[in-house]
């Protein structure tokens, strides 16, 4: 029975790895379209959305079935709960890729900005976070997961910088407002992807070590004492 259960967990894991690859591909493609000012890859992103939604449902069903039938505990339980939560995060990463495509489509109606703000740099950071969070999940690598958490502030800073940069542009050049708003939305989409990567990294740490690092939970508990 134990081997059968381990196979079930492995299968669930394999589907999650596949889902991660699809989500990563969607983000790569949507950012590429944004930076190259093209809508040519959008169709591919939209097609992947259906696939990622199906994977989300499939993984949840597998986890619920394992919880009901195998009564997992300890690491097994944490891995399965992690799987369903990461699947939820990846599904939302897919949504953000679709949103980036839609905001890029709005941008394409306007002439390119002379300076595209820090969005390319932010996109690099966010792509890296997503890639590393998935790698941390595959390798059960707590150190790499921690690195993702440490990078989240960079993504937040980029979002703020971009907002103030574009706010200045909008005030001095009102005709750029529609374009600036689309770019602000894109920076928001990217920041959300960074948040999802952070959540994935937190789940990895919990699954591997049983430590709950969300919302500075550990620090709060330690300062409260026994």
């Amino acid at each position: 029975m134990r081997r059968h259960f381990e196979e079930q967990i492995e299968e669930c894991n394999a589907r999650l790895v596949h889902m991660g690859a699809v989500a990563e591909r969607m983000i790569e493609k949507s950012i590429q379209c944004l930076l190259e000012r093209t809508a040519e890859g959008h169709e591919e992103v939209f097609q992947h959305e259906g696939e990622i939604n199906n994977l989300h449902i499939e993984i949840d069903e597998r986890v619920i079935s394992a919880l009901a039938l195998q009564h997992p505990v300890a690491t097994d339980l944490r891995l399965l709960v992690m799987a369903t939560k990461i699947a939820g995060e990846l599904e939302r990463v897919g949504d953000q890729a679709v949103n980036i495509c839609q905001n890029t489509a709005s941008l394409l109606k306007h002439p390119p900005a002379e300076v595209l703000t820090n969005i390319p740099e932010m996109a690099d950071v966010v792509r890296g976070m997503l890639r590393e969070s998935l790698e941390a999940f595959v390798r059960r690598d707590v150190e790499l997961a921690q690195k993702v958490l440490d990078t989240d502030d960079q993504a937040d800073d980029f979002k703020d910088q971009i907002f103030f940069q574009l706010l200045g542009n909008m005030m001095t050049e009102p005709p750029t407002i529609p374009r600036a708003l689309a770019l602000i939305l894109v920076s928001r989409n990217l920041e959300r992807v960074a948040d999802h990567a952070t959540n994935i990294a937190e789940e990895v740490i919990y699954a591997v070590q049983g430590r709950d690092v969300r919302h500075h939970h550990e620090e709060t508990r330690q300062s409260e004492g026994p």
Partner: protein, 264 residues
């Protein structure tokens, strides 16, 4: 049960210990069954002991009311304190100890007497006069949820009851002598799932007034019914913690291996 989210670890420091075990060792002849056990059993809570066959959990349980004393070659060293008082000393009156620390066994073992006499038995042994016995029997049967079913069958032979009723009756028989600690050695292994659920429900009721210690092979029973859980392995207490900790993030790899079914 202390299973609510976010409170793992919160009860450990607040619970006062009913039984304190220090450096407890036990032998059957040359075989060492318990190795340097240190343990605080919290008052008015359910503590479960899990572990593979032969790990020493039943031996430990039976130390708390000195049930091993009659076994040839059995020796014990170390300390067990009940409310601070030593229970291993030579001067301990065993009848009094077993009145305070009662035991429920794997198979229900009612006496071949009437329902009434089964429950009244312990009090009679302790010299109770008969005028109060009816009240004591009723109270004890009510505490285990048997009164409504059996109040008109008090004269029937207890052996005619169902297995679940017999086990409840045995618990009533214990409660009649007003114990403080209930030891339960696989109390549901002879019962079907419905009866098991009812006995577990009864344990939740009883823990308001009694300290309960249960030995079980059924890990799901330990996880759903106990507040604290100890994992034993080859005579050692490997890990003791609040039950949610043992089943979500055990600290010791041997506990992890056992509860997930990887070994044991």
């Amino acid at each position: 049960m202390s299973t609510s989210a976010g409170v793992l670890g919160s009860r450990k420091t607040s619970a006062e210990a009913k039984i304190q075990v220090r450096k407890l060792e036990a032998w059957y002849g040359s075989f060492q069954a318990l190795k340097s056990i240190d343990l605080d059993i919290p008052s008015r809570a359910i503590t479960s002991m899990i572990g593979p066959s032969g790990c020493g959990k039943s031996t430990l349980l039976r130390c708390f009311n000195r049930m091993n004393d009659g076994i040839r070659g059995f020796r014990v060293a170390g300390e067990i304190r009940l409310d601070g008082g030593d229970i291993l000393g030579r001067g301990v009156e065993l009848t009094q100890l077993r009145k305070r620390v009662g035991m429920v066994f794997q198979r229900p073992n009612p006496f071949p007497l009437s329902v009434f006499e089964n429950v009244a038995y312990g009090r009679r042994v302790h010299g109770e006069n008969s005028s109060r016995l009816a009240d004591i029997v009723e109270k004890s049967l009510r505490a285990t949820g048997l009164w409504d079913d059996l109040k008109d069958r008090l004269g029937e032979n207890a052996l005619a009851l169902s297995a679940e009723q017999q086990q409840r009756l045995c618990i009533s028989r214990l409660l009649a002598v007003e114990p403080e600690v209930l030891l339960m050695d696989e109390p549901c292994s002879a019962l079907d799932p419905i009866a098991t659920a009812r006995i577990e429900e009864l344990m939740q009721e009883l823990k308001r007034n009694y300290t309960i210690l249960i030995v079980t092979h059924n890990m799901q029973q330990a996880s759903r019914a106990s507040d604290y859980c100890g994992f034993m392995w080859l005579g050692e207490l490997v890990e003791f913690a609040e039950t949610p900790v043992i089943f979500t993030k055990p600290r010791n790899p041997r506990t992890e291996g056992y509860v997930t079914g990887r070994f044991g």
